[in-house]
């Protein structure tokens, strides 16, 4: 296991999609390589901070327009 291999498998590692042997090889490598440890840690934080971001509400105006358009569409023949 070297740094390049860690980068190549980074996504699979973070998503828990690696087989146990490969996963353990990465973990052993990280015990001795601070760069890879920090890379994995900060990439994980990157995903989490976006994952935790709040969805955006639609404005009342758009919701109202959508409702009106839906009702109107009901009276048209379906495709």
């Amino acid at each position: 296991m070297n740094c390049r291999s860690v980068v190549r498998e980074l996504s699979n590692y973070l998503d828990g999609e690696l087989d146990l042997n490969l996963q353990q090889s990465i973990e052993v490598h990280m015990e001795h390589c601070e760069d890879c440890h920090l890379l994995v840690d900060t990439t994980k934080k990157t995903i989490q901070i976006f994952c935790n971001s709040e969805p955006l509400p639609l404005s009342d105006d758009v919701r109202s327009r959508l409702h009106d358009a839906l009702v109107k569409r009901l009276h048209k023949p379906r495709t």
């Binding site: 190549r8 996504s11 973070l14 760069d35 509400p57």
Partner: protein
């Protein structure tokens, strides 16, 4: 692996989900996107009933589905188009199109995945109209999987603790807006909207390896961009 001179600052101050150098690396195997597993379960009965009622022409049932997903769909279209007006239009058009074509929804995938696919297409149409020279998202592009990250530094305290919520939201919006659309959209679907790799591939008309390749690159690029804001020792 290259590291900026003077970038090291000892062990990280762990926030809830980070690693502790003192405790080894065991925690890392919890998937980074903890919500992912939950999101891939079958739709609940309530949703199936709402979809069935909406198929029969029940606007109220469809509006319940709109209420359930409108915030996520708007965030999706906002991130893809990077324009509020386009995002609103794309969201509205996506819901209308979904309602209109509900009879074609067979229930083989989650309703949400089906809706996301429609919303992505609507958002891409807006994006292409505004930026016709942008690369097509469903076009296979070469990514260099030997890409090596730069600026590997400890981020120190939790970004959520260092920035006010509004400020943090602004940073996230800015950095994701700097990504090329082809990477941005894959990251958006996979890591924010919590679609599986296969669902993301289906929604974008890409192969699974292409999604994986773009996702890796997107994650690394975003990490590098966020490093400007979150690395330990920068002035607040």
């Amino acid at each position: 692996m290259r590291v900026h001179a003077g970038a090291r600052h000892g062990g990280c101050l762990c926030y809830a989900l980070s690693l502790s150098p003192d405790k080894g690396h065991q925690q890392i195997m919890e998937p980074a996107n903890a919500k992912l597993a939950k999101s891939q379960t079958a739709p609940d009965d309530n949703e199936s009933s709402l979809v069935a009622a909406a198929k029969a022409g029940d606007v109220a049932a469809f509006e319940a589905l709109v209420n359930r997903y409108e915030r996520k769909i708007f965030r999706l279209t906002q991130h893809i188009t990077q324009n509020t007006e386009d995002a609103q239009d794309a969201s509205q058009e996506a819901f209308l199109k979904a309602f209109e074509h509900l009879g074609e929804f067979q229930g083989n995938s989650r309703f949400y995945t089906w809706l996301v696919r429609i919303a992505v297409n609507q958002a891409l149409m807006k994006l292409r109209k505004r930026h016709p020279r942008d690369i097509s998202l469903d076009q296979e592009i070469e990514t260099d999987d030997n890409f090596m990250p730069r600026e590997i530094e400890d981020w120190g305290p939790s970004p959520e603790q260092r920035y006010a919520q509004d400020e943090l939201a602004g940073i996230l919006s800015h950095v994701i807006g700097e990504l090329e659309p082809s990477f941005r959209t894959v990251f958006q679907l996979r890591d924010i909207e919590e679609l599986s790799t296969e669902e993301t591939a289906e929604a974008l008309g890409l192969s699974v390896p292409a999604v994986k390749s773009r996702l890796l690159r997107a994650r690394l690029k975003l990490r590098e961009k966020l490093n400007r804001y979150f690395r330990r020792g920068i002035a607040q």
